[in-house]
């Protein structure tokens, strides 16, 4: 059987794995964490020795990593999602895509699932790198006190919330990338929303803006918050809402090109 979701997914995977941007999404956060580790070690060496901090998972590692994440991740996601659509824009490849013996729904959802899976793996790699960093720093500098604090639950939920937020952002970016052929609009809108979300993060309506999620993930790890809130439920709803909206735009693309 040719017309199956699995076939559509395999073909999308084959094509999209050739995008350099995917490695940006998968590797950049891990490299960033290791770069922060290197900075922490450099800072200890420069200051002449390690001194204990109240909760190094939060004050040392979490603060730096999530501060970078809230700015870096949405842009990486926006670039990656646009790249997934751009392969079809080049040479008007939608003509190939829409004349394959595959249902448009299968093609679209395989693309969307591929994007979500890539984000999942990216978060898993970053989560693993974060934990490994803490354990290694704890081994090298026991005085920092990584081994004395059980912060696993907060870390897990912070990464889980980050995953949900980024998934919602990815679906919004997918809708924008399908809507606009030009690179400027989806990337520009994501950057604007990122800046805007910092300003409105304290407002109650900000829970309905997924772009505030990465900033709030930073606040969560700093405030030791492991509760699921309105933002997280809203983001879960946004994933499905924007996935359906993207599907609608995708179908229309096939008809009017």
């Amino acid at each position: 059987m040719t017309n199956t979701f699995y076939t559509a997914f395999l073909s999308e995977k084959f094509k999209l794995l050739r995008n350099r941007q995917i490695f940006g999404v998968l590797i950049a956060p891990v490299l960033l964490i290791f770069a922060i580790d290197a900075y922490i070690i450099y800072d200890i060496i420069r200051s002449g020795g390690a001194t204990g901090v109240p909760n190094p998972w939060k004050v040392l590692l979490g603060r730096y990593v999530f501060q970078f994440f809230y700015l870096l991740y949405p842009i990486l996601i926006a670039l990656f999602v646009y790249a997934c659509c751009d392969v079809e824009y080049r040479n008007n490849n939608y003509k190939v895509l829409f004349t394959l013996p595959l249902d448009k729904s299968k093609i679209f959802f395989s693309k969307a699932v591929f994007i979500l899976l890539t984000i999942l793996f990216s978060i898993l790699f970053a989560y693993a790198a974060f934990l490994i960093s803490g354990y290694i720093l704890g081994l090298i500098y026991p005085v920092l006190g990584f081994q004395n604090h059980d912060y696993r639950l907060v870390i897990f939920f912070s990464f889980l919330k980050l995953l949900i937020t980024l998934s919602a952002i990815s679906m919004i970016q997918l809708a924008l990338s399908l809507l606009f052929k030009s690179f400027i609009y989806p990337i520009g809108i994501s950057m604007f929303m990122l800046v805007f979300s910092v300003f409105v993060a304290q407002k109650s309506f900000s829970d309905f803006i997924p772009y505030t999620g990465t900033y709030k993930a930073f606040l969560d790890i700093m405030n030791e918050n492991d509760d699921f809130g309105r933002l997280d439920y809203s983001n879960i709803a946004m994933i499905f809402l924007f996935m359906l909206l993207s599907f609608y735009i995708f179908r229309q693309k096939g008809l009017f090109r």
Binding site: T2, N3, T7, A8, L10, S11, F14, K15, R18, N19, V87, R90, N91, N92, N93, K95, V96, F98, T99, L100, P101, L102, D103, G254, L255, F256, R257
Partner: protein, 301 residues
Amino acid sequence: MESILTHQLSFKIGPKTILDHIDLHVPDKSVYGYLGRNGAGKSTTIKLLLGLLEDRADAIFIRGKSLKADRSAIYANVGNLVEAPCYYTKLTVFENLKYLDIIHKKGNKRIDAVLEMVDLRKEKRKKASTLSMGMKQRLGIAMAIFHDPQLLILDEPLNGLDPQGIVEMRNLFRMLNEQGKTIFLSSHILSELEKIATHIGIIEGGKMIFQGTKNELLGQVEREARLRTSDATRAAMVLNNAEFSVLRTEGQTVVVKISGDNHFDQMIKCLVQQQIEIYGLESHNADLEQIFINLIARSND
């Protein structure tokens, strides 16, 4: 069976009618040349046939199946190249076909065979973005024929090819046709279409102004035959008696209006039977280009 059949296919963009009740009949195993001026509606027809534009009236039937109802099954047996070739620039030539192989499951042997057919075997490992224009066109054709479709829909497939490439592609289309494939193609290189098409459809202003076999089209046109004979006056009389349409005599030459190859044969037989010697014979054949221009002019009148 007809490979492509449309019933009163129409398409509008806003108030503007792009296609006006088109009845396409593309016989199985034919090479159907689809002609028309720029903006006549050729590309719109092709996009409708491929489902890239929506046919709301369910007027398109491919190999007996409604395109609207059975899209995926139909596409398994249709190859296409619309306007410019489509390929993934970040993939190599081989990977572009491998991508299709994931869907059609034909195997690496088929990839090699298709690359051989379009003469791209040496470029197998090259990134598609680095190919020359002609090679990109060949890759587009390779992608269109990869899954061994029974019907090929090609819009300007010879664009960007050098003369050698055009000859090779013509031979490839002939070979595919001999294998029983139906080829529906539009091209502005009319001399090429004349060489390979078995059937012709001409569209003007969104309306079909001719559809039939190539011979029917060529047969529609009246030709002039100029016969240099031993006795032009007697030859004119003999031909007139045999109900040929003699236009005039010019010295030893008789100018006769003929239509169709059979009439031409009969005219010569007639003169030979009357022992009139024929010293020379000229026939002005209107080519497809001339016929096309005449038909367009007639339809605009």
